[in-house]
Symmetry: D2
Subunit: 344 residues, 4 copies
């Protein structure tokens, strides 16, 4: 069976594993206060052209999200998010369980529109019963989005303008950042993400690491006592250097970006095959996740050789499924899939 | 100035005030463990034809809502609600601050549709990644709704069917119950509300009391340690008998229902005047709240004599405002408004 | 039966009830934005010699406590409190349920000692693993305490010094403030309480009102968006003017202080009788609550005519019970008790 | 420098690292639903002689603790714990931040006494104002304790009796379980821990793994929807099989127990040296942590070659510090320390 259902079904990129092994018998101070974490933080700041950012490392994405949001907001403030946002639908209400409202908006192609933000922020700003309402104080966007799309530079500029107007923090969830940056037609750099965000994450788990997400805080207001929040939320890894080592390694020689490029190229090959075959997509994704609409018989055929992720029924005879490449996907597996697609 | 902006801008119905005065020098056990509360609870159970319900009294509506929801749900469960639901937009995120997700749905005319509930419940029931999702375990509906509409018996039957199918609790917020029951064309009784609910409230604050909401729990699963939750949430009144006395009084000789009838009759008189004048409504309400769309010049004229509640801009030249009657509204005030409407 | 078990077993002082009645048919804006609340706030500021305080009114004490603490602290901060503190033992974990740790300290005679505060604050200040610990950021003290004792000016000065040194907010719970100020030997004024506090409450429920606690915020840092917290916690009374009217009335002609004086005088008469009889006390209280240690046979006799509050077993043959006076206690009831005590 | 400050300052036992490497290119389903986790769970159940337990794996100890407690308790229930308990002092209020009160008790030698539990439970059980109090529903104990001591079988039996009497869940935190079981004079087996607990953890991070704690739930009441809680709290590892692989490996050929034995033997050698030298201890620990009271000059000497953990000032001239062995400690390092101790 060839596993193309997600981008976290294999261990780590060999370089990462080697790095972890080579430092295994080195002793280190705990809780992320070691030299590896410091180095990795410096490396990330350099890559993002940041002077003053705080960089922290946590194990997982939900941890990163709930810690960031809990730390940034007061109880009467909430976070805006497109309906399909990961925090809204697939983290078991983690944000609400921390006490914060998610203000979900319809969006389009998995992206929230600047006008939607404007509308929500304006309604609050103009209200004369503000104390009965949640102040929309943070915006959560994913780059790339949960359905594989990416914001254009123009879209992010418009969003930034609205957020500045209303004093709204921008939080970019980069769980799949390497794949977004490598997206076909992408006109956004990691420096740009860093520049428009108040806080953002750089995903490791899905991009070559065994595990780990880097939290980069660029807004001074969000830096205070962040490590208290990490610990309180159970997100502080005792052997924190394991995260530092991995992030250090992944940014050597641009490995993080190469991984993204390679996976996206393979995903687009798969996409082309589906297009050629006249098969429709649930979203038009230029990144490593491809959401296709397949008939029951097509699925039956493919399911014999491939793991894909089942998303949902589309109609009587079709379903939406995901094919997903990663740093671990091989050209030969993809070629096999392509020829099987052409046979459908 | 004539105050028609809401239904809680006067003190209490004279009978209520008299009752409070007459018991002022009587000593009582605290925290709702007195005879007045017991009597009021019995009276409510009789009126609702309930045998086994638990009845509690709290001071306010937000208190009632957050206590009920916190008590009924576990952390991984959430409450469904129409977008315009009071808990979703006007309680400063109280429910989320207690840790629970509100699953907001579009609805129609302020009412959630049984198909929407079915869709949300089905998505969870069918999911193979349930642990990443919030279980939709409770439904919150308001009777009447926040925009003055009322559910028909047929609608409630359909809702009940879906909820039973998926094991979803029904919570009816009756903050304005007396006005809903008196609604034009209403085909639902208080017994019926009691019958289909797992828990519901009977609003006092807006219906003749100084303050107070009765919480009626009919489902045994929701009864356990409810008083612990009341206390923990700060919703336990030290001199609890003040609530018992008021609820006792309001149900004597059907006063609660008469109050509703009278206010709705006056509201419908106002409505007719607006209709006659060709003025449009933002919602078609058969109850004590009328949401009308008035031009800036019309508003300017009316604002000289009347307090109404400003809702929001409708377009360049119009806004939505609310005129609201209550137990305290007089026929003469309403007649004055009607003749002023006819002059617009 | 004569009810001396607590100070909240009767309605309101007649002046209060009259005031409420006289404004019953006056219409008012809701949620505490009315003129009565404004006036009452001004009156409180005058009495406390405060220029810049924010004054809010809520219905109950637990509400006041949980709202104040939730508003003042961030998630990684906690509140220090003596073990017998009301928030620690008798509010069903309300503070923790809002997410905050109570750091309970042994204390002496119901009072926390400045050295205890110093010790807790020092331990945190000196720690090199602060992020694993809760920052002690607020001190909660009750005046008078839960066991009837009162802090001396000297004690409060010492406490203030430590709190200033470590940047700790002082929150004085004045649920029974009038009785504390009237305490025998008390050398503290309401202005002094206001001066050393960052936030404090003036209790109404137990001191002549039907219900109501005033929250007085003197530290600017604690003022921001407090009304959002009030609403979110369900502590915002729709007909807020009911609180304004009552607090306005209770401070007219020093009524609040007279009530305290009268009740304490009566309590001390009771105390003297017990002393004369050689009966021991569980705490040496100069205020309206007297905690006495009575034998089973003594209790049996008194229980025929008096309600007292049972506290706990003291030993095989004795229990601790509370006799409590209030604004409503009469001289004749107390005299009757005294002669019965002398007969024990 | 020789690092003896804690038991989590090195990577993983070589067997663990090898196992992780060998499965690196194997694809697996995510979130702990893989075969490695299943196998590891079976292995744990066998070792503990459990038939019906649920076994889950999370990355860290604080995660395990907050997830277990949040899942087991309702909002009005709390967890008892000795003052020095890890959840009480070193998890940044994680439990309270989840909404739950910790009822801290003085204890003795780091252990809570059955009489203390009885007292707390009895006070609640006998109270006639239960709804104002937190129900003590869970007991948290650590084996070994935070100061290196261990409960005897007799102590655990007494505790179990009280907990059964009052319906209190027992949660044993086994973050250092291997060192506790290997403790000098220990008369408790892992089966016994499993038998008396309703839920317990088996620590990996400090006992040879890179990271990871196993949660073993033996009481059916605590099993429901536990994976929902894991996900909501951010404690679900995407590549869950990394935990399964490690726990599988550590229980092969009794490695987990050998690791404990070896570290404890070395710690006791250190202890003997200090004893011989007449140096006093802050607690009498039979396990891998030794808390010694050293003078400033002694510390200065040792600090040139050794990392120890500074605990706190003891008096003017002495401090308490920890020397801690682990699976990674070598005989030669310990011997060097011993000869340096003898030179002090």
């Amino acid at each position: 069976m060839i596993r193309l259902n997600n981008d976290y079904c294999f261990g780590a990129h060999p370089n990462i594993l080697n790095a972890l092994s080579s430092f295994n018998s080195e002793s280190n101070p705990g809780y992320g206060l070691d030299e590896h974490c410091k180095e990795a933080a410096e490396s990330i700041k350099n890559i993002c052209s940041l002077q003053n950012a705080d960089v922290h490392f946590v194990v997982g994405g939900t941890q990163a999200n709930l810690t960031i949001i809990s730390s940034a907001l007061r109880a009467y403030q909430g976070v805006m998010c497109v309906k399909t946002g990961h925090i809204n639908g697939h983290e078991t209400g983690a944000v609400e369980n921390c006490g914060f409202k998610i203000i979900a908006s319809e969006g389009k192609e998995g992206k929230i529109k600047s006008e939607e933000i404007e509308k929500i922020a304006f309604e609050y700003a103009e209200s004369n019963i503000k104390e009965h309402m949640i102040e929309p104080k943070m915006l959560y966007i994913s780059f790339p989005t949960e359905i594989g799309t990416i914001y254009t530079k123009k879209e992010l500029e418009d969003i930034k303008k609205v957020c500045q107007k209303y004093g709204i923090y921008i939080f970019v969830d980069g769980a799949r950042l390497s794949y977004g940056l490598a997206g076909e037609g992408n006109d956004v750099t990691i420096e740009y993400i860093a520049d428009i965000s108040d806080v953002f994450t750089i995903g490791g788990t899905k991009c070559g690491l065994l595990f780990g997400e880097a939290v980069v805080i660029t807004n001074d207001e969000l830096k205070k006592c962040f490590r208290h929040f990490i610990k309180q939320k159970g997100a502080m890894l005792a052997k924190g250097w394991l995260l530092g080592i991995q992030f250090n390694e992944i940014f050597k020689d641009g490995l993080y970006f190469k991984i993204g490029k390679n996976a996206v190229d393979l995903a687009l090959d798969i996409k082309k095959a589906f297009v050629k075959k006249g098969i429709k997509f649930d979203s038009d994704s230029p990144t490593n996740q491809q959401f296709v609409i397949l008939s029951d018989s097509q699925l039956e055929k493919l399911s014999k050789k491939y793991f894909y992720e089942y998303e949902r029924r589309f109609d009587d005879k079709h379903s939406v499924v995901r094919f997903c490449t990663s740093w671990a996907t091989t050209k030969s597996d993809v070629n096999e899939l392509i020829s099987d697609i052409m046979e459908l």
